[in-house]
């Protein structure tokens, strides 16, 4: 009976159980991400850190949600995004399979992106506005509270801009931030006399149904859990067989002695 409770076998069971549970937990996490969509009303009630968790992607449900942040401007970290217009939606390529060259009627200039260090010392890229002459825009300094709308990194899968516009990506913001940066960026809706307010690309969550990539990863983890369970059974069975053989050999030796 003791062979069922040997230290080695208990360790095998502990490792097997932890591994299977870890795989299932990761599958559950992917399943949650596949169902990321919640109504904008629900998202608006969240704090900024719930809306844009650090060290994670900006949840699809947070895109287009209005929020406000308080922090200190980092004037030496300005990013200028060229060849842009005021209306963000018009810059989205409706047919990402092909390059689209759009003729714009309005002014073409720069999006002025300044980095704000928030109270928790994380950094956030904020599109303060549009300008044709960004050199004349004073650098933002000091403590400020800015209201705005959260936007995803513009290298979001499936998103392509017209006229080969350079995308404003999280990577670019990270490279220009001194501290850990949030994914995505905020388009300011706070009035600024020196800049024209930019209209965000997304005014509602980009994913409104199941995210199939995460569904595939969910089943991937379930598949992994099954494989780990199979290995667990096999190793435990082998261990029992070895113990049984060792016990039989010991019994035989004992019989021969007596």
């Amino acid at each position: 009976m003791s062979r069922y409770f040997s230290l080695r076998l208990l360790a095998i069971h502990a490792l097997g159980a932890v591994s299977v549970l870890a795989c299932l937990a990761l599958g559950n996490w992917q399943w949650d991400r596949a169902h990321d969509y919640v109504s904008p009303e629900t998202s608006m009630a969240k704090t900024f850190n719930e809306l844009s968790p650090l060290r994670d992607y900006l949840p699809a449900s947070s895109v287009g949600v209005a929020t406000s942040v308080t922090g200190t401007w980092q004037p030496e970290e300005r990013i200028l995004m060229p060849e842009r217009i005021i209306d963000g939606k018009s810059m989205i390529n409706p047919n990402p399979e092909t390059e689209v060259i759009a003729e714009w009627v309005g002014p073409v200039g720069y999006w002025v992106v300044d980095i704000m260090e928030l109270e928790d010392e994380s950094s956030l890229g904020i599109v303060r506005g549009f300008s044709e002459t960004p050199d004349q825009i004073a650098l933002a300094t000091g403590l400020a509270t800015v209201a705005g709308v959260m936007q995803p990194s513009e290298d979001l899968p499936g998103l392509k801009l017209v006229n080969k516009i350079e995308p404003l990506t999280t990577k670019l913001i990270v490279e220009n931030s001194k501290t850990i940066a949030h994914d995505g960026y905020l388009v300011s809706t706070t009035k600024d006399e020196s800049l024209t307010q930019v209209s965000p690309m997304f005014t509602e969550p980009v994913v409104t149904g199941l995210n199939w990539r995460n569904v595939a990863y969910t089943f991937n983890w379930i598949f992994f859990a099954l494989i780990v369970a199979m290995m667990w059974v096999r190793v435990a069975r082998d261990e029992l067989e070895f113990a049984q053989i060792a016990q039989s050999n010991a019994d035989l030796g004992h019989d021969n002695e007596s």
Binding site: P157, K160, K171, R213, A216, Y217, N220, F223, F224, I227, M230, M231, R234, D238
Partner: protein
């Protein structure tokens, strides 16, 4: 050890090591191209990563089955399984295992 069984396990492991190694190598090159150099994602990019996610567990099974035939220690088995997550490493381990098999 049943030779026919072993030959099957050995072939299964070698195929999976090469397949996983090749797919991971191609994906790593694409990752550098997309993330490092800023090139656009190819159409099959996301699907290929998902496919790799399913191929890797099969490689793990192949490694585990071979480990039971060759009586590898737990640590060695895990290391060879993890080799499937490092670009080029599955080719290296496949060569080392081939040497081990030819000597046994």
């Amino acid at each position: 050890m049943n030779r026919e069984d072993f030959a099957k396990q050995w072939t299964f492991y070698r195929i999976m090591a090469v397949v996983v190694g090749t797919v991971l190598l191609v994906l790593t090159v694409l990752l550098i191209s997309v993330r490092g150099l800023g090139n656009p994602e190819p159409a099959f990019y996301a699907a290929a990563w998902t496919a790799h996610g399913y191929l890797f567990p099969v490689y793990v099974v192949a490694t585990f089955m071979l480990s039971t035939k060759l009586n590898w220690s737990f640590g060695k088995t895990i290391l060879i399984m993890l080799a499937g997550t490092v670009p080029l490493m599955s080719f290296v381990t496949e060569r080392r295992v081939a040497k081990e098999v030819s000597q046994s």
